[in-house]
Each structure stands twice: as C-alpha cells, then as structure tokens.
Symmetry: C3
Subunit: 290 residues, 3 copies
Amino acid sequence: MRDAVPLPARTAGAEAAPPDPALAEDAATALEELRTAAPLVQCITNTVVANVTANVLLAVGASPAMTDIQGEGGVFAELADGLLVNTGTPTAEQRGAAYEAVGARQRAGRAWVLDPVAVGALPVRTALARDLLRHRPAIVRGNASEIMGLAGGAGGRGTDATHGVDAARDAAAALAAQAGSAVAVSGPVDLVRAPDGGVVRVPHGTPLLTRITGGGCALGALMAAFTAVRADPAAAATAATTVYTLAAEDAAAGCAGPGSFAVALLDRLHTITPEQLAARAELVREEGAR
Amino acid sequence: MRDAVPLPARTAGAEAAPPDPALAEDAATALEELRTAAPLVQCITNTVVANVTANVLLAVGASPAMTDIQGEGGVFAELADGLLVNTGTPTAEQRGAAYEAVGARQRAGRAWVLDPVAVGALPVRTALARDLLRHRPAIVRGNASEIMGLAGGAGGRGTDATHGVDAARDAAAALAAQAGSAVAVSGPVDLVRAPDGGVVRVPHGTPLLTRITGGGCALGALMAAFTAVRADPAAAATAATTVYTLAAEDAAAGCAGPGSFAVALLDRLHTITPEQLAARAELVREEGAR
Amino acid sequence: MRDAVPLPARTAGAEAAPPDPALAEDAATALEELRTAAPLVQCITNTVVANVTANVLLAVGASPAMTDIQGEGGVFAELADGLLVNTGTPTAEQRGAAYEAVGARQRAGRAWVLDPVAVGALPVRTALARDLLRHRPAIVRGNASEIMGLAGGAGGRGTDATHGVDAARDAAAALAAQAGSAVAVSGPVDLVRAPDGGVVRVPHGTPLLTRITGGGCALGALMAAFTAVRADPAAAATAATTVYTLAAEDAAAGCAGPGSFAVALLDRLHTITPEQLAARAELVREEGAR
C-alpha cells in the first residue's frame, strides 16, 4: 500500500479469475474470533508509527503492548499472543529486545511477523532483518522494494516502494525457501504468498494509505494480531489485509485529505463488521500459482 | 479508565452517598488556576503516548516538555512545575533520566507523579517502579492491576486492567504506608485515595478511553500539571481526573469511533470551562473511608 | 509560531512596506516543484513529534524517513534530498547519528536544517547544537528564545518562546556570522533572515499552532524538504513558512479546538495549491534590512 501508483482496474490482466467467497468468509470469521479473543500483541516497532500502530490494534479489538527494551523483550514474548518486529528505527536497545523476543517465539514454536522497513540500502537494519530470518518468521510483510531488499536485492531509497508488487515474486519465493515464511507484499493490489506458493490477491485499499505514516507498518501489527486466531500464516495475513484495506477504502470515501482519512480509518476499523467483510471482500486465488 | 468493563450505574452499591459540590468547585477553581499558571510539565514517558500526552497538556493549557535523556533529566526537574515518570517503554537512557529527575524533586521537596505502566510481570519496569517509590511520589496513578503489581501483587498481562478498581484498595493503602503517596486508580469509576485514607470517587468517563492508546497515560501527566496549583496531592489527582473524564464523556457523545473520539477529546479539553465542571461534576466523598 | 502572543495587526509598525508579489510567486513555484520532486527528507527528530512531522511531509508531497540510529545516519544523509536535525529528545544514539549525518552533508556541500529545540538552559542539547554549528547548517529554525539560546543567550524555559521575534535579531546575525546560516524565527509574524542580512516577514499563521505539539518542529522538516528545490536557503525557508502558515490559517477557520485543527492542517497541506499561495500570501521584504 505504500506504492504511490494509482489503483489499477480490478479485473485487469492476470487477476481475471473470479473472487473466491470462501476466502472472504474466512477473513470475516477471523475478525469475529479476533474481537472475542482480544489478543495481546507485542510490537517492537519504530517510534514514528508506534502511536498509530497501537491505535489500529485497539480499534480492531486487540490489545497492543510496545514492550521493546532489553530484559523485557523475551519475557513478554512468552506471554503475548502475537509479536511484530519492525525495523523502522532499530536502536541498539530495540535490536537487543528483538533478538530476545524472536528467540523466545522460536523456542516455543509460536508465530511472529517481520516488517523489514527500508531494508536494502541501510546497513544496520538490513543486517538485522536478514539475521532475524534465521528465527523463521511466520509472515514477512513489506512493500515490493523491501521484500526484494530483504531477499538480497538493492531495495528502495527509503520507506516508499520503487517497484511494483509483481516484481517481488521471486524474492517472496526465495524468502519462503530460506525461512519458510508466508510473504505479504503491500501495493495497489496486495499479494499474499503462502509458503507452498499459493497466492491470494486483495484488490482493496486507497492511495491515501501512502500519504499517512504507518499506513503499512500498522498492517504488519494487525497480521501479528491475526496469528492469534489463525494457525495458517497466509490466512492470518490475508484476513488482516482484507480488514485493513476494506476499512481504508471506506474511510477514504468522503474524507478531505490525509488528516481526516487517518481519523476515519480508526473509526472504521472499530465499526466494520464480519458481515460487511463477507459481503464485500473480493479476494482472488491465483490460478495455478503454485 | 483502561478497564474494558462497562460503566456501572452511578448510584449503585457503596457509592450511594450524594455528590459533594465542594469537591466539584475545587476542581473548577484548580482548572482556572492551571490555565493562568500554564505550568511547565516534564514528562519522562513512553514513546507510544508522548505525542498525545503533550497534546492533552497543551489543550488544557499547560506547557509540556518531554525532557527524558541522561544529563538533562535532573536539570530540567529543578525548573519544571510538575514531573511525570511513566514506565511504558523504560529504556536505559530513560531510566537514568528518571533517577536524576526524581532525585532532584525529592531534594527540593517538590511533587512528582509515578505511572507504573504494566508493572507486575515485566522485570525491568517493575524493579524500576518499586525502587522509585523510595523517592516518595506525591501521586501514584494506574489501573487496578498496575497498582496491585506495584504494591507486590502479580499485576496484569499488559497495559489493560484485569482487576476492578476496588480490588486495588489494599494495594493503595500499602503504597500510602510505604511512600506516603496519594493513589489514583483508573477505572469505570475512578478512585482517588489520599495518604490519610480519605477516598473520592469520580463517576465520569467513557469506555472509549480504553480504545485509544494513552487514554490513561495522559491522565497521569495531567495530574503532574495540577500539582503545580494544588499542594494537596489528592486534590490535584481529583481535579485532573474530573477535568479529563468529563471532557472525555462529552467527546464520546456523537463521535463515530476511537479516531474521532481522540480528536474531540483534545478539542473538549481546550474548551471545557470551570463553570461547566462546577455544574456537572458529581464527585462523591466516601463515608467513613478513612 | 510557538509564541502564545496574539497576532498583531498585519500592517502595524515596521512592517508597513507593501507585500512583494514576487516572493509569493516564488513560494508557489517552489511548492509545485516540491510536489513533482517528492524529495526524500531525513529527519533526526524528537520522539514526541516524529509522527506529526512525517505526516506533514507526506501531506505536502515529500517522502519522510526518520533514519536516526548510529551506523545509518551518515549513509542515509548521502542518499537523502534534505536533512533535518532537531534537538528535542537528543538521546546518545541520536546524537551519534546526527554527527554522522551532518558530517556527510557538509562533506558533500549539501544543505541541512538545524532546529535547536529548547536550547539554552538544558546542557546536553545546548552543547550539541552549538557544536553542530561547525558543520554549517543552511538554515537554523527556532522560536526567538531558542535562536537566542543557541547564539549564547539564556534561552527560554522549555519549548515555548518567552521572547518576541524581534528580540532575536542580534542572535540571528551572530549565527549568520558564525555558521553562514539563514535563520528563521517562528512567531506571530515569522521572520526569515538571509545570510546577507536581507529579511522577509511572513504574516500568516494562527495561535493554534502553539496548542499542538510539533507545530514548530514540523515546519523545520518542511524547510529541509524545500532545500531540495531551492538552492537559496532563505528562499527555501520562506517557501516552507508560507505554505505551512497559510495552510494553518485556513485549517484554523471553523475548527473546534486543537484536535480538529491538527487534522485540518494535514488535510489543507495536502490540498493547498500553488495558485492559492500566489494569490494570498502577503510576504514583505523589509526595507533597508541589510
């Protein structure tokens, strides 16, 4: 979603397959289960988006905790229902906490989500994110440039994508082979690739998500929340993307700019219902993707 | 206020005593004095809520400064009119600044406020918060689980309360005996316990305060602001709670969700008048509490 | 703009000279060029305002990146189109990153902006900001108290100005002599002083900018963005101030308080057009200032 590219027509090109209602229904059920479970989600994330990330989780019905200091990262990861590690402002203290936390999750065989913000050109976070792959994140989420940067390519210049979603397909396959992860590539049409190669496309959202900070980062946190109610990482990533991008689509309608959009997004994440998701989400399973 | 429990009927159970207009009038006068004084409030607080905390202080009429690095924590605490220490993301740098600051306040015999966020299960902040009690905070503010965690109980799982306000009564008494502090317990009906055992209940607020991050943390900062105009810590905590929860009640009316609630809360904190407080606050002094 | 003093009548006193339409037209052209260039702006800034700063840059059309850790500060400064160093919460990690970044900019002969938040009374940031002057910022932006504090005076108490804009004239001249910088002094009528002594006044804005955190800090980041399209530092500072204060003026009209003002400001920064700037900005070049 951080791509500044306009939304393509939804039925163009390779996405000509019809929507699969079963995918929309699973996202709807997952939302209902998340609101009942109110999962505790640990976020080791950047200081720029910590506030909006926490508010997105609260609006949907989860319980955020930004426990990101050394000596607490691992302890809390044992308690938490979900874990996000985001490399946006990876101070030495946060890097220490991240290693504690992902180590605890891996030892317990529990899911965690990696968001490799701006990985590629910047040395500290690139080394960190690639090393964290050894601890096998359930989901890796980023824009195309970040996914390519993590897999060994050059990446983008900053936090904005300079590549289209489909350019990241090989990189997503490489990450699945290396770490066993589902890979979610944010863009005008989001793509979720399961570890076995199955691909689902989520053709919702709004370019306004690229005009507020944390538009992508908060989605990574939401994926961590959904791992608490979906053991299948690709299903968790798909449900989170569906809830988030449909709410964003609604929030964009009638707002006056990025300020009022951000407000409306939190409101809509709070009020959107499983029934609305099931009725409106047009998720497409790619034919023969695997 | 971070409890997700619905608001009880205001006159139920032990709170059958009638509201005391003198309490509401003191809160109103304190607000007027705060707007005249525009106190400088130092906040050593977590990165997630720093922005909303500063905006709450500015909206009410105080002047925030998040001076939280080593080498400046103590210097600034000597200048500031109020001080908050919040343990939400206590990095090593912030812990050092906190010790500098509370040491300076204690040497000068001046008030400071402790907000023991998520104290209980997490080792670093729990040790920090308990140790800071030696420097005798004027006010300790938290939800019931945090107050219990600070006093030696298990606490909650994260930042959400898992106990009701009344469960924290013994813990509040223990903190008063140990550190001489007033204790403010946030919940559907907030409770402020004076060091001598007197109890005031503030039956205002909205469950939406539990759906935005910083809903409780900003109240701790507001208490620090009110210590600049009220030497009695329980009066400062009561005035802050009254202004904040009444403004929140008004903000919740007619808003579309947590996003627009957060916006309306800042607007209402800016516009609420002492006269409105005096007319509408229904503060109850508990009979025979001490 | 952080002064809490009411706006004076626009034509009073020394500013009796008529507006210069060429100044307004250059600001308008610069805005158009900025939206085309979408410059990548590195911000080493305080945790309180990082979110609003990023959102202001995104709303206008720039691309923010808060790359502020050691080991990345310099690498990114070589890639970025603009750089801001703000001393609001200067942790040891940020100080290290700031030295890396400004060193890289100076070696490359490229512009950077210094915002000396609360410099004067606080020892760590005051030493840091004065030392950073050796690396010759293109622009120094602050309120009058901060500019005076940086130049060797006592400064203010916190982040609020305790001096009027004109009190900082000698300090601005001293900074120009020492570091060759343009100096922008925020206040009810903003003042931009070129290194050669030329002065432009920007008589727009709203006192509400002093009631939201980051009201001044975000302007410093916007100046860094405009250095990507204006080689003349005073022209970059003037364009940024004009866009920002005119958008703020519009946002203040009809808003209900600081919460809705902050939202409307982001909306308006997104929608304001070069044509509106050219038609409405009343920038005054001071007669005989140099």
